[in-house]
């Protein structure tokens, strides 16, 4: 939300002038140049700071000539997405169920608090012992990491519905299901999406830690392998790949939030308002 606001504010006020872009490029080039020179002259330990040109060569090697990163990258992405979808669907689903029933809410709460207080990563080895070194245990760990934020946020969203709005629905004799579908669920959407964003942010980390603990494939394994033989340039390629991946995941979630919770953004609200007006007049014309 805030990041999009800032960039759109920048774009709309026309602050992305050529001068600023040129400054950014100059600063980046200066940094990389200094890094390169420092590494070549031995001022920087190449073990920790491989030369930028070596990293660039590493990209070419890992993605093109050897092409060995693709399988690992694909596996990590698959773990992240599967675990994220499974974990958040479970989290949201359970929260909706619990949120609808006062009794369930009361009885389940202590367990949620206890499990929330447990560091999730600590359960990692336990899960690996149970599910083995393969794909299943990674997905299970990501699932675990992705479960709580959507669960807690969804439950919060369900509980924090305005009492007056509830009365308004009740006074119209709305059924429990109607109150849920027309009031509680849409009302909780901003919080649910906030939970999904938190989950997505931790999903990548969860998958990597799982791969670090024990695995035979994935970017985490690749990083382990390369650092094990002190091939730091290639390790950096993996890390930078993860940076880009994280960036796109974050932006994707932001776009989803923006698209679904349109009413929290003024310009999107105006857009949807015009679209609904058009759809309405088309419908009224068609049937008369």
């Amino acid at each position: 939300m805030s990041a999009t606001d800032e960039t759109s504010a920048l774009a709309s006020s026309g602050q992305w002038s050529w001068r600023i872009v040129a400054n950014h490029v100059a600063i980046l080039a200066g940094l990389l140049g200094a890094w390169e020179i420092g590494a070549r002259t031995g001022f920087l330990d190449p073990l920790f700071f491989p030369r930028p040109t070596d990293i660039l060569a590493g990209f070419w090697r890992l993605y093109v000539t050897q092409g060995n990163i693709w399988d690992h990258l694909g596996l990590t992405v698959a773990e992240v997405l599967t675990g994220f979808v499974a974990g958040s669907v479970l989290g949201i689903g359970l929260a909706l169920l619990v949120g609808m029933s006062d009794r369930l809410r009361r009885y389940l709460k202590p367990y949620v608090i206890i499990s929330e207080a447990t560091p999730r990563i600590a359960i990692g080895p336990v899960i690996i012992a149970a599910f083995g070194f393969g794909w299943t245990s990674k997905v299970a760990i990501v699932m675990l990491v992705c479960f709580f934020a959507p669960f807690v946020n969804t439950l919060n969203g369900m509980v924090n519905v305005d009492e007056n709005e509830m009365d308004m629905m009740r006074s119209m004799r709305a059924s429990k299901w109607q109150i849920f579908r027309k009031l509680m669920l849409p009302d909780a959407l901003p919080e649910i999406l906030g939970g999904l964003r938190l989950a997505m942010a931790s999903a990548l980390g969860g998958a990597l830690v799982a791969e670090f603990i024990a695995s035979n494939a994935g970017l985490g394994v690749l990083i382990n392998q390369y650092t094990g033989v002190l091939n730091m340039a290639s390790a950096f390629v993996c890390v930078l790949t993860l940076t880009v991946l994280g960036f796109f995941i974050f932006r994707g979630m932001e776009a989803l939030d923006h698209w679904i919770v349109f009413w929290s953004d003024r310009r999107r609200t105006e857009q949807v308002s015009r679209r609904r007006a058009r759809a309405w007049s088309e419908r009224m014309e068609k049937r008369t």
């Binding site: 006074s171 119209m172 004799r173 009031l183 308002s273 007006a277």
Partner: protein, 268 residues
């Protein structure tokens, strides 16, 4: 016209003006095993088409009484009938409006107005046209597709008023509906409320803590006093309709204000 249901009902019952719609006998509400008396011994009848104001300081039980009539709150004792039927919960012929607009942020004005029809499971062309007409009646012709966040507080309450009428209920309950608005907006909306409730032939219970507003709108004013909350006095207003805001400076109006004040003052 779009308001066919209540209006036709009012016309057919026109000859029988005086038909009782709401009947309360010793309606009381206590909390905490009867230790706190929120409302005691409310006795009254409301006739079709009447506009009743409930006025009093906070804690006098006016909102409690309204919520009991709405079926949102169960009474502790007494009898309450609407249309001759015992009130056991919310009814389709009784609708309520709140101090907050309680509009759904993800729905346009007209979609909000259509909510009661959706809940009844009937949204056809007729309901859609009625919703648009009610928005026009509420002075929001050009804002049917605006979202609540695009509307001012006064306009949001106008949408809520249109939604109230869309229910088709002939008993309207309003709980300080314009209490959060500025004085000027409130006065204008009060004039329109008086016009609209007459136009659709609604029977109205209007809660407020503003004495002038209570008298200006009402056929009868229920003056309520706290500790314990009760109807201390029922005052017939008897001012001619339609009323212009300027009547608020007439001697007749001020005499009524003094009467309400003396009742409220005696309780304190």
């Amino acid at each position: 016209m779009a308001f066919a249901k209540p209006r036709d009902a009012a016309e057919t019952a026109g000859a029988a003006m005086g038909e009782t719609l709401i009947e309360a006998r010793d309606v009381a509400k206590t909390f905490g095993d009867g230790r706190v008396i929120a409302l005691q011994g409310a006795n009254f009848e409301v006739k079709r088409g009447e506009f009743i104001s409930l006025v009093g300081p906070s804690g006098c039980g006016k909102s409690t009484l309204l919520r009991i009539v709405a079926g949102l709150l169960a009474r502790s004792s007494g009898e309450l009938r609407v249309h001759g039927e015992e009130v056991t919960g919310p009814r389709t012929d009784v609708a309520m409006m709140f101090q907050k607009p309680t509009l759904l942020a993800w729905r346009t004005a007209v979609e909000n107005v259509l909510l009661p029809s959706e809940i009844k499971g009937r949204v056809g062309q007729a309901e859609r046209r009625k919703a648009i007409e009610l928005l026009e009646l509420a002075g929001l012709k050009d804002f049917a597709f605006s979202f609540p966040s695009q509307l001012s507080g006064g306009m949001q309450q106008r949408v809520a008023l249109a939604r109230l009428l869309q229910t088709g209920a002939d008993v309207l309950l309003l709980d300080e509906p314009f209490g959060a608005l500025d004085e000027f907006t409130r006065e204008r909306l009060n004039v329109e409320l008086a016009r609209i409730t007459r136009e659709v032939g609604a029977t109205t219970l209007f809660v407020t803590h503003n004495i002038g507003e209570a008298i200006f709108l009402a056929d009868r004013v229920f003056v309520m006093t706290p500790r314990p909350g009760e109807i201390a006095r029922i005052i017939d207003v008897g001012l001619e309709r339609p009323r212009d805001p300027s009547i608020q400076v007439t001697p007749e109006f001020n005499a009524l204000v003094a009467e309400v004040r003396s009742t409220l003052g005696g309780a304190e």
